[in-house]
Structure formats: C-alpha cells, structure tokens
C-alpha cells in the first residue's frame, strides 16, 4: 500500500456511505444485552420498509453509556436510542420516515457526553472495528505513514516526549523517556509489547478500546516499533476478553493484507509484526516482568528490577512495554502535534484519561475526560450521582492497588500527583463508586482476599502478609478483633508495602491504608462493638490509643 492507496481507500469508503447510518453498538455490555439481535432486527426493518437505498446499519464499538445499552445512534441527526430491544428496534427505522420511535430516546447533549474530550475514544462507537476501511476513512494509518516518510525515529521520540504523555497503565512514567531508553539500548533485536492484561476488577477501558478501535493500538505499536528499532510486537490480552482477542486478530489480518503490518510497510524497508498472546487468568501478569515471563511461556512471576525491560526484557532483549491506552494516544499525537497534546490537561499530567465508571452510580460506562477535571464533576455531572437517592460515599480508583477517595475530597483534580497525595493512585482508570450502604472494612477485606488469592507466592511478605492481613480483616468484620489486632494490621501494611518484590505486594495494603485514613471510625466501631459492656475506663483508653494511632 502507498499513500495514494490509503487516500483512495478512504475515498471509496466515503463514497459507499449511505445517506442515513444507524450505528449499533456491538461491544461489551451492549452485546450481553442482546445488541446482536437488535442489529438483525434493524437490518430486517430496513429491508422490509424498502429503505436499503438510503439507510445502512453499521456495527460499531462502544458508545460509552453502557449501562443504558443496547445503544443505537442515528447519523447524521445525532440521535441516540437507549435500552433498544429486538422488539422495538424496527420502530427506529420507521421513525426515520416520520413518527415517533417506541425505543427510549437518550440525550446526546447530556454532560455524560458533552463534558468528555475524546482522543483515544474518538472513533469508538463511530466506526466498525472489524473494517479497516473505516479506520482508514477516519484518518487511520496516516500517522504511521508520516512517521515512516517524514520523520526520523529520534524525532518521533522527541514528539512523544514533548507531548508530555505518561504511561496510562497507572504508574505514569513519561512515555517519551521510556521510548528513548529502549531506543538507546543495544540489542540485536528489540520488542514492543502492549499490556492488555487489564486485571483490576472494575476496570474495562482497555477492553472497550480493543473492542471498538483495535487498529488505533496497532498503529501506535507500529510507530513505537519504528521509533525504538523493533520489528516484532506482542499484545498480551487477558483470556477473559474473547471479543477483544477476536477483533485484534481480525485487525492484524486486515492490516497485513493491506501492507500496513508485516514486511515492508507502506512499501518501505520497515517491517513490523504483531502477535497476540492470551493470558490465562493471573492478575500478577499485569506486572511487566511477570507479563514477559508469561509471554515466554512460563509461570507469571515477577523478578526484581533493575534490570528494567527497556534494557533486559523479553528473552533478554530490550523491550518497550506500554499499556493499551498509551499506544492508542500515539497516532493522535503524531497527527495533531505534540504541542496540541501538551496543551491539554494539567501542568504535570497532560492530555486526557479514559475511565470506566461502575458501582453505585447512575450512568455506568466508559468516559474520556481532560486531565484536571475534578472527581466531583466525573461522579456527579457525568456519572449522574448515586442510585436511588442514596449519597455517594467514596470512589475507588486503581483497583486492588489503589485507594478510596471520600466524598469530602471530590474537588480534587484528576492528575497523577493529586490522587497519589490522597493515598490513591490514578491507576489504569477503573472508578468504582460506593454509596453509604457500602461498608468500607468489608471492602478492604474484599480487596485483601483478591490480593491474597492472586499473590504469585514468590516473595514472602506478599505471600504470607496478605494472608495475615486478610485474617485480621476477617476478625474485624466478625467483631472479634482487638485494638492490638488493628495495630498489627497497620504494622503489616507497612511491612508488606516496603518489602514486597513487585507492585502487587507493594500496593496490596493500599485499600486498607486508605480506608483506615478516611473511614477509621468504621474500623473502630467494629472494635468497640466487642468492647461493649466493658468499663468506662477501658473504652476511654481505647479511644485514646486509637487517637494516637491516627496521628502516627
């Protein structure tokens, strides 16, 4: 394929487009709510009403408002229908000729949509993820062409560095710096690896991106390969995402057929292959060294760093590891310029961030917002607040590695540093909302059970410490714990955090620490319930010592 072919493909796709397009979401939550039957019903209705000349039904990826699915969008009017069923789908088609559809109308101007700033999700819900032609029509693969013919690898890295993009997997390491390290590392071969092992429960952004716009990730990886000097890429996807795996494989095949992956991309001397590797259900494989062990066909156990993967990665060769969302940001940065991207967000956290909203919140789904937006805006305005008139109590970010942010701190802007200061982390973007009915100690215990079961067992602090902490939390929830148990829990948090080998263990105490920080009362209540009936002197001494604990 040459640049002319790319333009011709885009124009052909544009010309084939019919006057009215009904976009039917065929990803994640909508599919589970029978959107495939909705699409069949729409197609049938178009045919039966003799509208095939004017109307087309398009399979698209996630439109974001998954809780209201199945969703159907109408172009060019920009209408949105929610909770569409196979039974009322035909009324959407008949309404095109006048009349009112039976299906419920959504509000595309709701803050849920209006407050978003789609960069990574720009094509999500607009193009068919299984047709490379639609990706190309919307400007896809032109950034890769630009990189191959108009830029030197060093310039690409400079542009990424200048954009201020930081790793979207959660740690926030400057992407440009990572690329530069891999580019500098000597090695007869190098690898580019995409971490799509989205293990945090309650996080489904990467799933949404892969199911909705897989080519964006592939293009980002190919650009990275060119920049750092790698010709082989791997995408490590968790096995729980069969649709994402399927769409990635389709996308890779299509890209190869069009000469956009494989040998001699755009008829240049640049070769780049991508292979999909499927995880097998181990949370720890989201950790980079464990992930690489898993790609090598081994148990997914982490190893100490340094050496970092940038120097000593897959099979000992320099390896660039980035998250799905990071790669999906690359092509837009190249196309629209590093300055544009650096102009978005806050001083230290540039650009946008994709979040998944779930839990006790009205609007659940996937959103992309500019960095610096406050948590309150996300929860109250986009998310529509708590369900059933309840009050939002806290938001959990960063999964089992993160923490709970109480409602009192909702005015905090979303950026890497601010969330860290609150005792949580940006994480990969999962936001689970809790209301007043959620017991925070139970929640901490839930996360500890998760970490305990997912600990790989290699290092003792994590293997044993998580079990100990889980048992202490269980004693607490069973009203059997003493103040001494609580002290021991805090000591263990400190120990496990500081002595574990990898991120899993180091961050396992975070949910406990953050709930202790903001909801200490709930812990103390469980203690005091046991101490009921004790003398006044004793309970006041408990109150005193817990106060001194709080000051520690």
């Amino acid at each position: 394929m040459t640049h002319e072919d790319l333009v011709a493909t885009a124009e052909k796709e544009k010309a084939a487009r019919k006057e009215i397009r009904l976009r039917c979401c065929m990803a994640g939550g909508c599919l589970f709510s029978r959107s495939a039957d909705v699409k069949t019903a729409l197609e049938k209705a178009v045919k039966n009403n003799g509208m095939s000349e004017r109307v087309e039904i398009c399979r698209v990826g996630c439109m974001g408002l998954c809780g209201q699915g199945p969703l159907v969008g109408v172009d060019p009017e920009g209408l949105l229908y929610e909770h569409v069923t196979p039974e009322n789908a035909s009324s959407i088609v008949t309404a095109l000729a006048g009349g009112v559809a039976e299906a419920a109308r959504g509000d595309p101007r709701h803050p849920f949509f209006a407050r978003q700033m789609p960069v990574v999700l720009a094509r999500s819900g607009r193009v068919d993820p299984e047709r490379i032609e639609q990706y190309i029509e919307s400007g896809g693969y032109s950034a890769l062409h630009h990189v191959l013919f108009e830029m030197q690898p060093g310039q690409v890295i400079q542009a990424i560095a200048k954009s201020g993009l930081r790793g979207r997997g959660g740690a926030g390491y400057p992407t440009g710096l990572k690329w530069a390290t891999v580019a500098k590392s000597a090695g007869e071969r190098k690898y580019v690896v995409c971490n799509a092992d989205e293990g945090d429960p309650g996080a489904f952004m990467d799933r949404s991106v892969l199911e909705s716009d897989p080519h964006a990730v592939l293009e980002g990886m190919a650009i990275a390969g060119r920049a750092v000097g790698a010709d082989q890429g791997f995408i490590y996807v968790r096995a729980e995402y069969p649709l994402a795996i399927n769409r990635l494989q389709i996308a890779i095949q299509q890209a190869k057929r069009h000469g956009l992956l494989g040998p001699g991309i755009f008829e240049s001397s640049f070769n780049f292959n991508v292979d999909v590797r499927i995880g097998a259900g181990a949370f720890v494989c989201g950790e980079e060294t464990a992930l690489m062990a898993s790609i090598e066909g081994k148990r997914g156990q982490p190893r100490p760093r340094p050496p970092f993967p940038a120097e000593h990665g897959l099979w000992g060769y320099p390896t660039l590891l980035n998250n799905v969302e990071t790669f999906a940001n690359i092509a837009p940065i190249i196309s629209r310029g590093a300055d544009w991207y650096a102009g978005l967000g806050t001083e230290k956290s540039k650009g946008t961030k994709v979040f998944s909203l779930s839990g006790k919140i009205r609007n659940t789904g996937v959103i992309e917002v500019e960095m610096g937006i406050t948590i309150r805006e996300i929860v109250e305005e986009l998310g529509g607040g708590a369900l059933d008139g309840a009050k939002v109590k806290a938001v959990q970010t960063g999964g089992p590695s993160g923490g709970c942010i109480p409602a009192a701190h909702f005015e905090t802007p979303v950026d890497y540093e601010s969330l860290l200061k609150l005792g949580s982390i940006m994480g990969s973007g999962g936001m689970v909302v809790m209301d007043e009915h959620t017991n925070m100690v139970e929640l901490a215990r839930f996360y500890m059970q998760f970490c305990m079961e997912e600990s790989c067992g290699k290092c003792i602090p994590c293997r044993v410490g998580t079990v100990e902490m889980y048992q202490l939390l269980t004693r607490l929830t069973e009203h059997k714990a003493t103040l001494r148990d609580l002290e021991q829990l805090e000591e263990l948090c400190d120990l496990v955090q500081n002595t574990s080998l990898c991120g899993l263990g180091q961050s396992a105490p975070n949910p406990v620490l953050s709930t202790l920080r903001y909801f200490r009362d709930e812990y103390l209540e469980l203690l005091q319930a046991q101490e009921d009936g004790s003398s006044d002197g004793e309970s006041s001494s408990i109150a005193r010592s817990s106060k001194s604990l709080a000051q520690m």
Binding site: S33, G69, F204, K298, R299, S358, G359, T364, G365
Partner: protein, 164 residues
C-alpha cells in the same frame, strides 16, 4: 540436532488439533501457554496424558508444564460438570451484591465455589471481573453472560438449566 517428536497419546482427533497448534509455533517452548489453552478448549481440562504429551513435544520438563498449569486460574486439571455457572467477583459486582448471588447459588446447588456437583451436572466457578461491570452483578451461565442478577433470578435460571 533433530528433536524427537512424541507420538499422539491416542487416536482421538482432538490431539491433531493440539499438534497442529504446536506445529504453528514450531514446537518452541514459549508456546506452552497457548498450547495448554488449545488442550483445555479441546478436552475441557488438562489430564496427565496431555501434560506429558505437551511436555515431550515442546521439550520442556514435565515439572514446568505442571507448574504453569497450576499457576494460572484458567487451567483446570479436573473436568468440569456438564454445565458451568461462573459468578463474577469483581469490585463492581461485589458492591452491587455479587457475593449474595454467589451465596444463593451455593446454597441451592449445595456446592462451594470451585466445586462440581456429585452427579457432574454443574460446576460452580468464580471469576475476577470480565469487564461487564456496567451490568453488574453478572453471572455467566454456560458461556452466556447475564447481567443485573439477583439471588432469586440466579437460582431460577439455574433451575432452567440443570435439575439438581
């Protein structure tokens, strides 16, 4: 050095699927997890013969094959029941009552998570979030995801799938 290829464990055609998978990866050791996925898909679980065959064909120690098979949650060394019911235990499902759904199923089927009924009709499994958090809590009945589950609905659905 020419490596020796072990014979297929039996005339069962599914071994050919496994073998062709290994051939695709030129019998390289790093294909181990991919190959175990294929075995599990074909046979439903990994038995001793399968582990030995894969170890010999990929030239990796049996201990490593066993280590990998037991490390990852997806692999099972025991066959599942005729029907499977997977309850999600992710955070979103948890805060929306997934634990109560699980408890209801456990008490109805009289098995704990991870177990199979004695008549081999039903396996009750749990998973760590499959990303369908927007319709939490979810249960996967024989591969079909069902959202917004309540303890009552979950038991009703099970009754429709399997007689206990």
């Amino acid at each position: 050095m020419k490596l020796i290829k072990p014979p297929l464990p039996s005339a069962d055609k599914r071994w050919k699927i496994v073998d062709s998978r290994m051939r695709r990866y030129s019998y390289q050791a790093h294909a181990l997890i991919e190959v175990l996925h294929t075995v599990q898909q074909s046979f439903g679980y990994l038995d001793k013969d399968a582990l030995k065959f894969v170890a010999a064909a990929l030239h990796v120690p049996l201990s490593r094959v066993y280590g990998v098979s037991t490390f990852y949650n997806f692999f099972s060394l025991k066959p599942h029941g005729a029907h499977t019911c997977v309850v999600c235990l992710g955070t979103a499902c948890y805060v929306k009552g997934g634990d109560k759904v699980l408890a209801a199923i456990e008490s109805y089927a009289r098995i704990k998570r991870g177990e199979t009924t004695r008549d081999k009709q039903l396996s009750l499994l749990t998973e760590r979030c499959n990303g369908a958090c927007t319709i939490a809590p979810i249960v996967v009945y024989d591969g079909t995801v069902a959202g917004h589950q309540t303890p009552k609905e979950a038991v009703e659905r099970l009754k429709g799938i399997v007689k206990l």
